[in-house]
Symmetry: C2
Subunit: 231 residues, 2 copies
């Protein structure tokens, strides 16, 4: 029986733009597991299976509910230990936490200041007010104010990606010759931006763009086929 | 027979302050190998065993010369495969590269702007002119100019350490329950600063300070015993 995954959707049900859901989606594909996704919107908190923390991803696997992308990855690694490993061992899992913390404190923080207004344009009508007021309260600025001058901030954003750039310039994936969960964590952030924004985050000759292309090719082009902008 | 390691030294022969040499020193200890270090100064390029690229660390193990800290770690992992692993497998090794690239583009770049003048004070008399002119040419500024206002830059430096902070707040070491080469890479940068500067890089209640304390305790206090400032 396929695993069910609750997946953040925009006004169009097939536009999926949660970085955390993309981590889980890629991890499920890495394990070769069938999945049926259920489109879910920010304001549908009562539609999630329990337990949950009001957010996605949440998966149901044979009656078992697991929420939070990190918990889902850990669950899949243990439950499907006979399938390709996400972490490549305990050291790999521990170092994934560093990649995750870099992604959440540098990459995603930089991205939100470039694309948050584009997200607002794509969320469903019922979600727009919730999205605007929750984010404006968090940022202490209007969405328009928060992203203005994004062109001017782009060079600093690109420089902040140096650790990623140097790594994927010298090896195909963060995880080495083959992709692993660390790649899915970082890729989730790029796929989030790609789903809702045509803003050019990367120069075309950036080694990160080449790596993103390799990620888009994985699993029969799973992420490339999803409704999104750009290449 | 003990391994010989050429190790960057200051005016005092036992003040060792190369971040790259500390990586190698900790990796040798991790493998439980005896080492005899040879103090070496920047301007003694003709005193290094060949092959070398004019820099340290360089090790000699049973007649074999290996230079460059990354090559040394790879060599030790293969040659002493029966001893505790530095990487915990190929994924761990690949993810170490990301930690290394973060260390070299964020941590060490931030540190040099805080402590480069302190380095100058500690290098040997014959090295001072070389050190000043090579660094001032690289930075396009005098050493004094380069570090001025370091107090004002300290908050941004500390914020730049968020990925490290969040990780070692939740697990003892970057590599998990036990330290590994990723820890030695990051620690090398802190030990470099600690060897030559009394500038307080970290607040006392910073989880990174607690992690650094755990690193200083390793291998019978190997790094703690070395001539340095602070705790």
């Amino acid at each position: 029986m396929a695993i069910t995954m609750y997946d953040l959707a925009g006004a169009e049900a097939d536009r999926r733009f949660s970085p955390f859901c993309w981590r889980a989606r890629m991890a499920l594909a890495h394990k070769g597991l069938d999945v049926e996704t259920v489109p879910w919107r920010f304001t549908e908190k009562d539609k999630l299976p329990k337990p949950n923390d009001g957010r996605v991803p949440v998966i149901i696997d044979d009656g078992r509910v697991v929420h939070d992308s990190t918990a889902i990855a850990d669950y899949l690694e243990e439950r499907y230990a006979d399938r390709p490993s996400l972490f490549g061992g305990e050291t790999g899992r521990a170092l994934c936490r560093f990649v995750q913390n870099w992604t959440e404190t540098v990459l995603q923080v930089g991205l939100i200041r470039l694309v948050v207004l584009d997200i607002h344009r794509h969320v469903g009508p019922a979600d727009q007010e919730y999205f605007r007021s929750s984010r404006e309260s968090r940022f202490g600025a209007s969405l328009e104010e928060f992203v203005k001058d994004r062109e001017a901030r782009l060079p600093a954003f690109r420089t902040s990606l140096d650790p990623l750039r140097r790594t994927v310039e010298r090896q195909d994936f963060l995880s080495g010759k083959n992709p692993g969960y660390a790649d899915y964590i970082v890729f989730g952030a790029f796929q989030w931006a790609r789903a809702i924004s045509d803003f050019e985050l990367l120069a075309t000759d950036d080694p990160i763009a080449a790596w993103r292309g390799r990620m888009l090719d994985l699993f029969g082009g799973l992420a490339r086929r999803a409704p999104a902008y750009g290449s």
